[in-house]
């Protein structure tokens, strides 16, 4: 299954992926309208140090702890992707507690949000990948380690 991977050798820490993500999931057609003057709630987050940067988003684990731990049955796997049913999420954050990558976070509404590979939004392909200026974020098939 294709997943989003970040090659930290090329990640510039520019944070554009966060903005592209927030925009893609905003439902707005214009980035300014979507993001100007408010905090953003991206599903991918840039982390790093002075020397190295990388962006983290959902790994879509083969055996996802978050899905197993969700007390509301709001998380599930569909065709390999871990998806969230926002209407079921009550915001208990158990998934945040169990995700080893820190890939889930609280969204604007208080419910959980996570990368769903832009399969559900208008972008259609991961906006972070499409917008990465340095090709650091890729959407590809990789072998199991």
């Amino acid at each position: 299954m294709k997943r989003v991977y970040v090659n930290e050798q090329w990640c510039l820490g520019c944070h554009l992926c966060e903005y592209n993500c927030a925009f893609a999931n905003s439902g707005e057609a214009d980035m300014v309208k979507a993001l100007k003057g408010k905090p953003i709630y991206p599903r991918i987050k840039v982390e790093g140090t002075e020397l190295v940067n990388f962006a983290v988003s959902c790994r879509h684990c083969t055996d996802p702890m978050c899905v197993k731990s969700c007390i509301a049955g709001a998380l599930s796997k569909h065709d390999g992707a871990v998806c969230i049913d926002h209407s079921k999420c009550v915001g208990c954050f158990t998934c945040i507690l169990v995700c080893p990558y820190g890939a889930l976070s609280q969204g604007e509404t208080g419910a959980i949000q996570k990368c769903e590979l832009c399969l559900e939004n208008a972008c259609g392909e991961p906006a972070c990948v499409k917008g990465c200026p340095n090709g650091a974020i890729v959407y590809e098939e990789r072998d199991t380690l």
Binding site: L12, Y19, V32, L35, P133, N134, G135
Partner: protein, 501 residues
């Protein structure tokens, strides 16, 4: 001096109604033009530091930024132009030689733009490259004068060493040091994928790039940096750099600050020492000395590699080329006065040398007149900007072209012409790791491949239009060219007729 005589050249225009304060501009500007003001929640810009490299403009996700030329003007003066006056201010302040980068930006004639290409109509069919084979392969190197046969009457097929190219374009010399590791990686990988060559410049060959040897031209310049036996053996050809179009008669100077780590090791220059390439090769004070170096290099590599001699286009270039053609060199590369550089004295860059179009035409004709054109291949460089420039150069008589500025543009260069600062925001002309990483060679190589693939298509279209289906039938085919707005002398030198003739 407390008074700054020079008003900033550019204005950073930020459309506040579009800026979302994502701070990408701030993070991406190595010149520290942009800064975030937490109090206002907005971004400030200090245009004095701006070099107009357009990095922030390109990365701004909401297109809230543009850089424009400042319209703060000195009183108009047709003689004392703005730039001229500002250069006086700069020198009055610094007492130093002015430095510049990339090619001559002045308004000299661009002959490529005054030459038009022919196409077939009625009497001769044009050829559709999508339907018919269209060949762009070239071999650079000396061609034998005579066919010889063995005792059975078969042709002896031993050729002098040749450089085979899938299309008549190569990436010209840019040293590791003047450009980054990732820029080199991009060039090396693209050259390999394209079946052409790139050129190490005088920076040596990084150990990681020996793998690209069959598509590498290794350069031997006056500083001899990075030259050793394995280096010479690694390349597909060896280039002796006698001169550079951007700075004929001038050597090179890579400041010690850039001689660090791998650059130092690759150049074989101690860390922190300036790498100074002398103006002349100190073992070449005349043409016969050049012949010695040519043959030394041939000896060192068992006569397996073609030797390129690169010269700047200067006034008596035809005579120089004639001498080089008899020196044992296999290929002559001529670099016109608009060729780029990582750093050159401004006065030299803007005033020394001649245009490649005239130099190429003069050299090709001279070598033909002397019957020695087949002794050498000719490579033309110094601002070959597009496929039609390539076609025109080939028709004037070049075997192939060198491109560098166009390649850098493909990698992201926006021709801000401040390579000498070492703060290239595009990760090209810099050694700062955080900047170098901005050029991902996966993308860089792909963009270069795209560029030349596109050019190749265009070359084929132009060839097909002329009714030609192989690039060698274009070489020196000046009948395919016409001048426009050129005077008799220019037409004579170019060896072409005027449009309408």
């Amino acid at each position: 001096m407390s008074v700054d005589f020079i008003y900033p050249e550019f204005e950073v225009v930020r459309n506040d109604s579009r800026c979302i304060a994502c701070r990408v501009c701030e993070r991406q500007c190595a010149n520290e033009v942009h800064s975030f003001d937490p109090k206002q929640g907005s971004i400030l810009s200090d245009e004095r530091k701006c070099v107009n490299c357009q990095r922030c403009v390109s990365l701004c996700p909401t297109r809230a930024l543009k850089i424009v030329k400042s319209n703060c003007t000195l009183r108009e003066n047709a003689n004392w132009k703005d730039d001229t006056i500002k250069e006086v201010y700069k020198q009055a302040a610094s007492g130093g030689v002015l430095l510049s980068s990339m090619g001559n930006p002045k308004e000299f004639p661009v002959y490529w733009d005054k030459i038009l290409i022919n196409a077939s109509q009625v009497t001769n069919p044009s050829i559709d490259p999508l339907r018919e084979p269209m060949e762009t392969r070239v071999f650079l190197g000396k061609k034998p004068d005579r066919i010889t046969r063995d005792q059975n009457g078969n042709i002896r097929c031993k050729l002098p060493p040749q450089l085979e190219l899938s299309m008549p374009v190569m990436f010209s010399a840019m040293s590791y040091g003047s450009i980054s590791y990732n820029a080199h990686a991009s060039l090396a990988r693209a050259a390999t994928e394209l079946g052409i060559c790139y050129n190490t410049g005088e920076g040596g060959l990084h150990e990681d790039f020996y793998a690209y040897g069959p598509n590498t031209i290794v350069q031997v310049a006056s500083g001899r940096f990075g030259v050793h036996k394995d280096y010479l053996d690694a390349g597909a050809a060896i280039e002796i750099k006698m001169g550079q179009g951007a700075k004929p008669g001038i050597g090179g100077h890579l400041p010690g600050a850039k001689i660090i780590g791998d650059v130092s090791r690759t150049r074989m220059v101690p860390e922190g020492s300036d790498a100074i390439s002398p103006a002349p090769h100190h073992d070449i004070y005349s043409i016969e000395d050049l012949r010695q170096l040519v043959y030394s290099l041939k000896e060192a590599t068992q006569y397996q590699k073609p030797i390129i001699v690169k010269v700047a286009a200067v006034h008596n270039i035809a005579a120089i080329a004639s001498g080089v053609a008899r020196s044992g060199a296999d290929i002559i590369a001529i670099d016109g006065f608009r060729g780029g550089t990582g750093a050159a004295p401004t006065r030299i860059r803007d005033n020394v040398g001649i245009p490649i179009e005239l130099a190429l035409a003069a050299v090709d004709q001279r070598l033909r007149d002397e019957g020695i054109r087949n002794n050498v291949s000719l490579v033309a460089g110094g601002s070959i900007r597009c496929a039609s420039d390539v076609v025109k150069a080939i028709a004037l008589g070049a075997d192939a072209c060198y491109i560098a500025t166009a390649a850098l543009l493909a990698l992201g260069c926006h021709l801000c012409r401040t390579c000498q600062s070492g703060k290239c925001n595009w990760g090209i002309a810099t050694q700062r790791p955080e900047l170098v990483k901005r050029l991902n060679p996966d993308m860089g190589a792909q963009r270069l491949v795209n560029l030349l693939t596109a050019w190749k298509h265009e070359i084929k279209e132009l060839l097909g239009g002329m009714g030609i289906n192989s690039i060698e039938a274009l070489k020196g085919n000046r009948l395919m060219l016409r001048g426009i707005g050129l005077n008799e002398k220019e037409l004579e030198i170019l060896g072409i007729s005027h449009a309408g003739e």
